[in-house]
């Protein structure tokens, strides 16, 4: 009973501000004559008409497919190459300057390069997403595999594990928390590049829908697109946090003990 109360209070404390904000927006925009800030009630009606769920298969599904395919390629490349480079001191020393440089290019600036190379279709979108998202994952994996707790390594050597065994059973598993930090950045970049590739390579996709609506002065539609993109971005980060929590349960357990 007391526990339930604590939950209610926690939710009330965390939730009053967004509720207040939405109520204020609804009220303040109710009679809005400003064309750029239409009444929230109108946006909501249009939102229901567009996204529950008439246009979802046309615009949302292709965006999400590109995002996930691109991100999956980035995970395989990043963790694969990162493990190999992290295991070899020379390999990492010679590749890191290049990786550092490519990572310093704003990911969205690479989209025009991929448009020049591959045109405007899904292939270009997936390639730009995969390429940009690979580098944070790659760097995090190299970092994680290289810096294993020395006590663990010495223990493994005492038990005469071979170098291969040490890599796969000690270095890689214990690099997981670092790799997850890279994956998180990679996912954010993948999301941004998904939208950017749609803004720049007009046509289908939620980003393209939203920017087209802006260009044609369909302002209510543009608002619904922006709100849906925002909700999607937040939902992605929630899903990622949940996956991370489950995969790294041992790590958080250790941290609590320490």
């Amino acid at each position: 009973m007391r526990r339930a109360w604590r939950w209610v209070i926690a939710i009330a404390v965390a939730g009053w501000l967004p509720v207040f904000f939405i109520a204020w927006w609804w009220h303040a925009s109710a009679n809005s004559k400003n064309p750029y800030f239409p009444p929230l009630s109108k946006i909501w009606t249009e939102f229901k008409a567009n996204w529950i769920f008439t246009l979802v298969p046309v615009h949302v599904v292709p965006s999400l497919i590109n995002l996930f395919v691109g991100f999956a390629i980035a995970i395989v490349l990043g963790i694969g190459a990162g493990t190999l480079l992290g295991a070899s001191r020379t390999g990492a020393r010679y590749t890191e300057p290049l990786i550092d440089f490519i990572r310093s290019i704003p990911p969205v600036a690479l989209v025009p390069i991929f448009i020049l190379l591959l045109g405007l279709d899904a292939k270009m979108r997936i390639a730009s997403i995969a390429f940009s998202a690979t580098f944070p994952i790659l760097l995090a994996t190299i970092e994680g595999v290289r810096h294993t707790n020395p006590v663990l390594l010495e223990t493994a050597q005492t038990f005469r594990l071979t170098n291969q065994q040490i890599l796969w059973r000690v270095r890689v598993p214990y690099a997981k928390p670092t790799i997850f930090a890279g994956l998180q950045v990679g996912l954010q970049i993948a999301f941004v590049v998904t939208i950017a590739s749609e803004y720049l390579g007009s046509g289908f996709g939620l980003g393209a829908f939203t920017l087209n609506a802006t260009d044609s002065f369909l302002i209510v539609d543009a608002w619904t697109g922006v709100i849906l993109l925002g909700v999607l971005g937040y939902a992605l980060s929630l899903v990622f946090d949940a996956v991370e929590r489950v995969s790294l349960r041992w790590y958080y357990g250790q941290k609590k003990l320490a």
Partner: protein, 252 residues
């Protein structure tokens, strides 16, 4: 023989090899053609741009958007974070809302920003502020809340007021958190300035890149991207150096 090669810094070797491979791929590989620029073409493209004043004014505009946006974010977010961090109620009430806006990339709100502000310098600055303000405020608040409670109790015993507590206990405790947040914000500012200009049509290097791409000026477009990588690298190195000087006690 081996020692002679290994005495050359790794960065130099990598750069030379990477440029050579890039050059070969661009000249002979399946990518050879109008849609791909080799290393020498990209460098030629960049040097031809560097002789035009348009290019340098685009550089200045991008830097201006990033710098002003960053400055405004810091001026708003750090004091806001301190205030939020002082009260448990304020921290818990804002946490969800700020986390929500923190994870939304500014590219999402570009369509609305174009409508409400127009494709201008101010829009770019607005996007940079939007990108940074929530994460810097949250980190600051978190750092402020993390102050050693014994230290605070001691200060209370000596009847030191709220101001001296902030000045001598809370801000120093939060400094390393704040400096990490600012480092991330500074590199994000440059990226967002480019995005605002490439997609939102604000003046700057992004807009120039879009124009070059549309005109099919491949080697110059590659030149701009090369330039962006170089400044990105310089900025992140400069930030690391600045951080070491300012928060020298944190050991990071």
């Amino acid at each position: 023989m081996k020692s002679a090669v290994s005495r050359i810094p790794a960065g130099v070797v990598t750069t030379v090899v990477a440029l050579l491979v890039w050059q070969l791929v661009g000249s002979f590989g399946p990518l050879h053609g109008d849609s791909f620029a080799s290393a020498s073409q990209a460098i030629t493209g960049l040097s031809s741009l560097a002789r035009q004043s348009d290019f340098w004014s685009a550089v200045a505009q991008t830097v201006e958007i990033a710098a002003i946006g960053f400055g405004i974010s810091v001026l708003i977010a750090v004091p806001l974070g301190v205030v939020i961090g002082l009260s448990r109620f304020a921290y818990r009430s804002t946490k969800f809302t700020f986390d929500f806006f923190k994870v939304i990339p500014p590219i999402v709100i570009i369509p609305i920003a174009i409508l409400a502000i127009g494709p201008t310098l101010e829009m770019g600055i607005f996007l940079v502020v939007f990108a940074n303000i929530f994460s810097v405020a949250i980190q600051t608040a978190y750092g402020v809340r993390d102050t050693d409670p014994v230290l605070l109790e001691t200060m209370k015993c000596y009847r030191m007021g709220t101001w001296s507590q902030i000045r001598y206990a809370r801000l120093p405790a939060a400094a390393s958190q704040i400096s990490v947040a600012l480092r991330l914000a500074a590199s994000a500012s440059l990226i967002v300035a480019v995005v605002a200009s490439l997609i939102g049509g604000a003046p700057g290097l992004g807009q120039l890149l879009g124009l070059l791409e549309n005109a099919g000026k491949t080697s110059q477009a590659y030149g701009v991207v090369l330039f962006l990588g170089i400044i990105g690298l310089l900025v992140s190195r400069a930030i690391v150096l600045a951080q070491r000087r300012m928060v020298f006690w944190s050991g990071k």
